[in-house]
C-alpha cells in the first residue's frame, strides 16, 4: 500500500503540540495583560475644556481638595465645582487671562463647563465617597497623586480586585482623619518605620472608625 501521508507528517504531532502550546500561552499572556483595566484604563487622560492644573492648585498652592470638591465628605458623590467656585479667586487673580475665558463665560451664563469624566465605576457598582473619606481612606488611594498632575489622568486600575485588595485588608491603607487630603503623607520617611507604624495604628483606626470593610457582593452590587 502506498503511503497516504508524506513523510514530513511524522513531525506533525510534535509541531501541533509545540505550536499549540505556544499559541495558547501567547493568547493567555495577551488576555492576561491587555484585557485588564490596568492596561486599558490606567493612563486615560482626556483633553479637558479648560487646562486646569491640579499640580498648581493642590500642589504648589497647597489648596485642600475639599475647597472645590466640597461634597466629598457628605455625599456618595464627589462634586465637580461649579464655575463660581473658581471665580472666588479668579475674579481677582488672572482675571483677564484668555485661558480662563470659558470659566468666566460659564460663571456669567450659568452654563456648566463640559468637563470630561475620568474616574468612573460601572453602573452596577455602588461607591460612596463619604463613607471612605470619613473613615481614614485618603483620596490618593484611588486617584493617585493628583497634586502632582498637570492634567488629571486615570492613575489606578479601579478594577474589582483593586477594591478587594483594600476591603480584604483595610488596616494597610487607613490613615489619620486629618491626613485624608494630604496626598503625599506617609507615617514615616523611612519605609521600614512607615510599615511598622502603619501596622500599629492601622488596627487601631479600623477599630476606632468602626470599619466593616464589607466583602459581601451586595455591599457594592446593590
Amino acid at each position: 500500500m502506498s503511503a497516504i501521508f508524506p513523510k514530513w507528517t511524522n513531525k506533525l504531532p510534535l509541531m501541533i503540540i509545540i505550536g499549540g502550546t505556544l499559541t495558547a500561552g501567547a493568547v493567555t499572556a495577551g488576555v492576561w495583560y491587555y484585557f485588564t483595566p490596568k492596561y486599558f484604563r490606567v493612563g486615560y487622560q482626556p483633553i479637558q475644556p479648560v487646562a486646569f492644573s491640579h499640580a498648581t492648585h493642590a500642589g504648589q498652592l497647597g489648596m485642600d481638595c475639599r475647597y472645590c470638591h466640597s461634597t466629598v465628605e457628605k455625599s456618595w458623590f464627589s462634586n465637580i465645582p461649579s464655575s463660581s467656585t473658581c471665580m472666588n479667586c479668579h475674579n481677582q487673580v488672572l482675571k483677564d487671562d484668555p485661558r480662563l475665558a470659558l470659566v468666566r463665560e460659564s460663571a456669567a451664563t450659568g452654563k456648566p463647563i463640559p468637563w470630561v469624566q475620568i474616574h468612573r465605576v460601572p453602573d452596577f457598582v455602588y461607591f460612596n465617597h463619604s463613607v471612605h473619606v470619613n473613615r481614614g481612606i485618603s483620596c490618593v488611594e484611588c486617584h493617585g497623586r493628583v497634586d502632582q498632575m498637570e492634567e488629571v489622568y486615570h492613575a489606578k486600575s479601579l478594577s474589582m480586585s483593586f477594591c478587594l485588595d483594600c476591603h480584604n485588608d483595610p488596616a494597610s491603607k487607613v490613615r489619620p482623619a486629618d491626613k485624608i487630603t494630604d496626598l503625599g503623607w506617609t507615617p514615616s520617611e523611612d519605609p521600614n518605620e512607615a510599615a511598622k507604624r502603619q501596622e500599629a495604628f492601622g488596627k487601631k483606626y479600623v477599630h476606632d472608625f468602626r470599619i466593616e470593610s464589607m466583602n459581601n457582593c451586595s455591599a457594592c452590587h446593590r
Partner: protein
C-alpha cells in the same frame, strides 16, 4: 498432533458448564471485520435516514430554543418561586445519569475482566459522551448570562473574583468536565486500531486520508499494541473512580443543602446506582433495535442482553432499597418537616410523579428475574424504555417535589413547565440521536479489535486455533 495428546489429559469440560461463546455461530475474525465495517461502508440504509431527518429537525428545535432563552432570559422556563429548579436540573441529572453506563462498561467491567463488555462498550461510550453533552447544555444555560459561563472556572482575573469552592455546584463543574474529558479520551484511544482497520479497507482517497489522519499512523506493530494496552489500562483506572464520583457529586448538589428530602447521606450511592440503572436502560433501548438493523446478532448476542438485564435488575433493586429507606429514615428521624415531605411525595398533589417513579423503577425491573422475559427482546426493549421514563420521574420527584412545598406554606405553588422547557428537552433528544446516528454510520460501533480477542479461536489453547481463525 501433540496438541491433541495434551487435550486428552485434561478432563473435558462438561457440556452444562461450558459458557456460551461471546460471538455466536463460530464467526471468524474476517467475518467480524466485514460485518462491523459493512455498517460504515455499505449504502446508507433507509431506516437511517428515517431516524436521522427527525433527529436533525429536533436538533434545529434545540438551536431555536437555546437562541430564544438566551436572548430572552431563563424566565421563559417554568421555574418559579419556590420551585427554582425545574426541568433544567431534572434533565441535566437525567442525561448525566444515562452517561454512566458507558464508563461503567468500559472501565469497571474492563478492570474486572468481564469479557462480554467488548460487544457493547464502543456504542455505550459514545452514548455516554453524547449524553454528557446534552446534560452540559442545562447548567450552562441556567446561569442566565451564558457569556459569563467562564466564571465557573477558577481563572485569576482583574475582578479578584473566585468561584465558591465550598459549593457542590462548583464541584459539579470539575466532576462533569473531567468526566467528559476522560470519557472522550477513553473512547478515542479504543477507536484508534479500528480506525486504522477502516483506513486499510478504505476504497476512496478521502476516506483513506480521514481515517489515516484520525488513526494517528497506527500500524498494528507490537510496540503500538503494547503502548495501546498500557494507555487503555491507565485510562480505565482513571475512569473507574469517575464513574462513582460524578454522580456522587451531582447528588451532593442536593444533599449538601438543608432541605428535607434532599439532605440525606444515602444520596451518593443511591444516585450512582440510579445512574447505572438508567444508563443500562438507555444502552438496551439503543442496542436492541441497532443489533437487528445492522445485523449484529452474532456479536451482540442474547447473552449480552441477558447480562445487561441482570445489571439493570441489580441496580433497580438498589434504588428500590433507597426509595424505601428514605421513607423509613423520614419516620425514624422524628422530624416533622421530613415526615411531611415524604407524605407529600406519595400523597400530595404531585403523587403521580412518585407513582411513576415507583412503578417504573421498582416494579418493572422485577420482571427481569424471569429468563423468559430477559430473552424476549421486544419485551426487554419496552421495559428498558420504562426504566428511562422512571428515572426521569425520579429526578422530577427529587427536584420539583422537593421544592414546591417548602417551609413556608404561603409560598407553596404548583410547578408547571412551559413550552420552552418541553421543546428544549425534545431538542436534546435531537442532539443526542443526531450525534449517535452519525457515530454509528461513520465509525465502527463495535470494538472490532477487542472482540476478536474474546472469540474462542483467539485463545492459543483452543483446539481449533488456527483452523478457523484468521481466514474463512
Amino acid at each position: 498432533m501433540s496438541e491433541v495428546a495434551t487435550h486428552t489429559k485434561v478432563p473435558a469440560t462438561p457440556l452444562e458448564l461450558m459458557r456460551e461463546p461471546l460471538v455466536a455461530n463460530q464467526r471468524s475474525f474476517g467475518w467480524i471485520s466485514d460485518r462491523v465495517s459493512a455498517v460504515t461502508e455499505g449504502k446508507t440504509p433507509k431506516w437511517w435516514w428515517a431516524a436521522f431527518v427527525p433527529s436533525l429537525c429536533l436538533l434545529g428545535l434545540l438551536g431555536a430554543m437555546l437562541y430564544y432563552q438566551i436572548a430572552t432570559g431563563v424566565g421563559v422556563w417554568g421555574n418559579q418561586h419556590p420551585t427554582m429548579w425545574g426541568w433544567d436540573i431534572v434533565n441535566f441529572v437525567w442525561w448525566i445519569g444515562i452517561g454512566h453506563a458507558g464508563t461503567l462498561i468500559s472501565a469497571i467491567l474492563y478492570l474486572l475482566r468481564q469479557k462480554w463488555r467488548t460487544a457493547v462498550n464502543r456504542a455505550a461510550e459514545a452514548m455516554t459522551i453524547f449524553a454528557v453533552m446534552c446534560a452540559g447544555i442545562y447548567p450552562a444555560i441556567h446561569v442566565g448570562r451564558v457569556w459569563f459561563d467562564w466564571w465557573l472556572f477558577p481563572i485569576p482575573t482583574y475582578q479578584g473574583l473566585w468561584p465558591q469552592f465550598r459549593s457542590p455546584l462548583m464541584w459539579d463543574v470539575f466532576a462533569v468536565s473531567t468526566y467528559f474529558t476522560v470519557s472522550v479520551l477513553f473512547w478515542y484511544v479504543g477507536l484508534i486500531p479500528d480506525l486504522a482497520m477502516l483506513r486499510d479497507r478504505a476504497k476512496t482517497k478521502l476516506k483513506q486520508f480521514l481515517f489515516g489522519l484520525f488513526s494517528f499512523g497506527w500500524t498494528g506493530s507490537n510496540r503500538h499494541w503494547s503502548n495501546y494496552e498500557k494507555a487503555y489500562l491507565i485510562l480505565a483506572g482513571l475512569s473507574t473512580p469517575l464513574v462513582l464520583s460524578v454522580h456522587s457529586i451531582v447528588s451532593l448538589d442536593f444533599s449538601v443543602s438543608q432541605l428535607p428530602g434532599w439532605h440525606t447521606t444515602i444520596f451518593p450511592p443511591y444516585f450512582v446506582a440510579g445512574a447505572v440503572f438508567s444508563g443500562f436502560g438507555m444502552v438496551l433501548t439503543l442496542l436492541i433495535p441497532l443489533r437487528s438493523m445492522c445485523h449484529l446478532e452474532d456479536i451482540i448476542t442474547k447473552r449480552h442482553i441477558d447480562v445487561m438485564c441482570k445489571v439493570t435488575l441489580a441496580t433497580g433493586c438498589i434504588v428500590s432499597y433507597a426509595y424505601i429507606m428514605e421513607f423509613i429514615i423520614a419516620w425514624y428521624s422524628g422530624s416533622a418537616m421530613e415526615r411531611f415531605h415524604f407524605m407529600n411525595r406519595a400523597l400530595g398533589p404531585m403523587w403521580w410523579g412518585w407513582v411513576m417513579m415507583m412503578s417504573c423503577n421498582m416494579l418493572v425491573p422485577q420482571l427481569f428475574w424471569f429468563k423468559k422475559i430477559r430473552q424476549n427482546l421486544v419485551v426487554v426493549w419496552i421495559l428498558s424504555i420504562f426504566v428511562n421514563i422512571g428515572m426521569w420521574f425520579e429526578r422530577f420527584v427529587i427536584v420539583v417535589v422537593g421544592l414546591y412545598r417548602d417551609f413556608l406554606p404561603s409560598s407553596w405553588d404548583y410547578y408547571k413547565p412551559t413550552w420552552v422547557d418541553v421543546c428544549t428537552y425534545l431538542g436534546t433528544f435531537g442532539l443526542f440521536f443526531t450525534l449517535f446516528l452519525l457515530f454509528m454510520r461513520f465509525l465502527p460501533m463495535i470494538a472490532v479489535s477487542e472482540i476478536k480477542g474474546v472469540t474462542p479461536q483467539a485463545d492459543p489453547h483452543h483446539p481449533e486455533a488456527g483452523a478457523t481463525g484468521g481466514h474463512s
